[in-house]
């Protein structure tokens, strides 16, 4: 009689299978329908002109493109962050409710595979949604940039600017168009959504209600945007005002230790929208930090989930 082969501690293949089924599960929830209003918004922005941009004397093409990017990136961030929270919060309770969880866990599937698979599934859906929104952003921004380039060149030629200055003006506008730098902003929002999904996964492992998971994750999302203020207070006393009290220091320490720093993601994305010099090195650092956050939250989720009784 042959002995059953021992189940490995973690299998990437098994996690991928669970991730695949999670994607199917989320697609059946019709999550991609949300992309329709977003597409309409992006296309609508294409035709949106603020009043003060009218007339050649008020020609501000860079600001107009910047506004377009800000609104699109903001929408992408809002959608992906909320989606990461809600979908992750719904998955484990959903599996318990329709008893899928029992059929999975009664098989030789380690709980780590299940959690990682679920997270990969959510991340895959976020990635697809982000990709669609990114294509829309690039397309609308491309057309708008082209339009602004033509308008500005015509205007500058009419006024009699020398060729060198026209070229400089065009280069400045093109820098606000669909560049690689802009993709750094998109990637930054994607990484943020992945971290938020990992946070929601951790909470959903010990939470008894979906509502609690969603509410707590949203709170962490909000506090994460201010984590750097608390941390700055610890590293630099003057930043807190006069003299930080003990209460300030305790709260600051707790917030800095426990919560992730989401301001970094915002900063990189804003910097990319402003066409500042965001470097590939910054992206590597942000990616490393995100991997660290996700790793910590997944390990903790596994710890809680490993001996959870259903």
């Amino acid at each position: 009689m042959s002995r059953p082969s021992p189940t490995s501690f973690f299998s990437f293949r098994r996690s991928l299978i669970i991730a695949q089924s999670t994607v199917t599960q989320l697609v059946r929830m019709k999550v991609f329908y949300f992309l329709a209003p977003i597409a309409l918004l992006f296309l609508g922005l294409q035709f949106f002109d603020a009043f003060w941009y009218e007339g050649p004397e008020a020609l501000m093409p860079e600001q107009e493109l910047r506004m377009h990017k800000n609104l699109c990136l903001g929408t992408m961030m809002l959608f992906t962050s909320l989606f990461a929270i809600v979908s992750t919060a719904l998955l484990i309770p959903g599996d318990i409710e329709d008893r899928t969880l029992y059929t999975i866990l009664c098989k030789p599937v380690p709980r780590l595979d299940y959690l990682v698979g679920k997270l990969f599934g959510v991340i895959a859906v976020i990635f697809i949604a982000m990709l669609v929104m990114d294509v829309l952003l690039v397309a609308t921004l491309h057309f708008r940039t082209e339009e602004k380039l033509i308008e500005t060149t015509e205007y500058m030629t009419k006024i009699g600017y020398p060729e060198r200055e026209i070229e400089a003006g065009r280069a400045e506008i093109a820098a606000h168009g669909p560049t690689l730098l802009l993709q750094f902003g998109v990637i930054s929002h994607f990484l943020k959504a992945c971290v938020i999904a990992a946070v929601a996964l951790l909470i959903s492992t010990f939470s008894t209600s979906t509502l609690f998971t969603i509410a707590t994750s949203v709170m962490i999302w909000i506090i994460g945007a201010f984590q750097s203020i608390a941390r700055d207070g610890l590293f630099n006393d003057a930043e807190f005002g006069d003299v930080p009290t003990w209460a300030d220091k305790i709260v600051g320490t707790l917030v800095s230790l426990i919560f992730p720093d989401f301001l970094l993601y915002e900063a990189i994305s804003d910097g990319a929208a402003r066409a500042e010099d965001v470097l590939a090195m910054d992206m590597a650092q942000l990616g490393g930090l995100s991997a660290l956050y996700i790793g910590i939250y997944v390990v903790l989720s596994w710890f809680v989930f490993s001996d959870k009784e259903f």
């Binding site: 600001q63 609104l71 945007a225 230790l257 915002e266 910054d282 809680v304």
Partner: protein, 344 residues
């Protein structure tokens, strides 16, 4: 047992988060400081701006949508501009710039609304007494100046904001203060933009007692880039400032032929410059003497002689003589005859 497990789990989670947090905190701080130094991280929102923020802005800020909220608020501010609600507009721009302080457009646009539009509204509002109008206008001008300067704290390299301050204080339709304007233009004196570079000269040339300095500035500009000679006011200032008797005769002074391509061009430019002396207080020097010499030399018709025929009109072409002849030929012959007879 279940309660113990929950308590244990929470304790472990808190412990691991605190432990890893302790390790990652310096990394996060270093990364943030590096990004802040490169102005990629937005500065902290000032305490007074928190009080001014509405619920939507606060929610947006908490959600990490600072720049998006700034864009939306700038649209709202536009409606305050249309309704002449200047105090609300000022408040809005305070919040907008607190949310997105590295966007020069908001500083420039907000300053323009406060220092130009609000000040003009106060100046021309007949509902107030003249004294009140003046006080309000000055209030808005000072507020505009302060707003631009606040922007410069965040964007010290943004010469356009210095240029805006200078333009506001040298605007003859407001309350010109050329000393303040010159102080601002001085900061943009070494700009790569030739328009910004010249404005310091054009401003000090209107301040009595700073003519020598203005001449030295004109020479400095000319030495670094002769293309400044393409600007009529620059050409005229170069000539007129050199007529200042306080300027040493040892210095090589510019000549009409060297500065203007033709004598006709010189007459056109200097004729127009004289109007600026009268209207805008530019340095007069010996403009009258130069013009009288040119009138004699070029045999300028009386109609184009500002001493015989004072006018506020400008000469718009270098070929003014042909233009004058053409306009003269349009007059019917019988009228010209009558005119000549009358003259006899």
């Amino acid at each position: 047992m279940k309660r113990f497990k929950t308590f244990r789990n929470l304790l472990v989670i808190a412990g691991v988060l605190a432990g890893t947090g302790y390790l990652r905190m310096p990394v996060e701080q270093k990364f943030t400081e590096d990004l802040r130094e490169r102005k990629i991280v937005q500065p902290r929102i000032e305490s007074d701006a928190w009080g001014e923020m509405g619920q939507t802005s606060l929610a947006g800020t908490f959600g990490g949508l600072r720049t998006v909220m700034a864009s939306m608020l700038s649209l709202k501010a536009q409606s305050h501009f249309e309704e002449n609600e200047w105090y609300d507009l000022k408040k809005d721009y305070g919040v907008i710039t607190a949310l997105d302080p590295y966007n020069a457009f908001y500083w420039s646009h907000g300053g323009w609304h406060i220092g130009y539009n609000a000040a003009s509204w106060a100046r021309s509002n007949r509902n107030f007494s003249p004294a009140r109008r003046r006080i309000m206008e000055m209030e808005f001008l000072e507020a505009g100046d302060e707003f631009y300067r606040k922007g410069l704290k965040y964007l010290p390299e943004e010469e356009s904001l210095w240029f805006e301050i200078g333009s506001m204080w040298s605007n003859e339709y407001k309350r010109p203060d050329y000393e303040r304007a010159a102080q601002a233009f001085d900061k943009a004196r070494d700009s790569t933009n030739p328009i910004y570079r010249r404005r310091y000269l054009f401003t000090i040339a209107r301040i009595p007692g700073r003519e020598i300095e203005a001449y030295e500035e004109a020479i400095r500009l000319l030495t670094e880039n002769p293309r400044h000679l393409g600007v009529p006011t620059f050409r005229c200032l170069l000539i007129v400032l050199s007529t200042n008797p306080k300027i040493s005769d040892i210095e090589i002074k510019p000549t009409l032929d060297g500065v203007f391509r033709t004598k006709d061009k010189a007459y056109q430019d200097l004729f127009n410059y004289r109007q600026r002396v009268l209207d805008e207080g530019f340095y007069a020097g010996d403009i009258d003497g130069i013009l009288l010499n040119l009138i004699a030399e070029l045999d300028v018709p009386d109609e184009l002689n500002p001493f015989l025929n004072p006018t506020s009109h400008r000469i718009h072409t270098e070929h003014w003589r042909e233009g004058y002849e053409r306009s003269k030929s349009k007059v019917p012959d019988w009228m010209l005859k009558k005119k000549e007879e009358g003259a006899r």
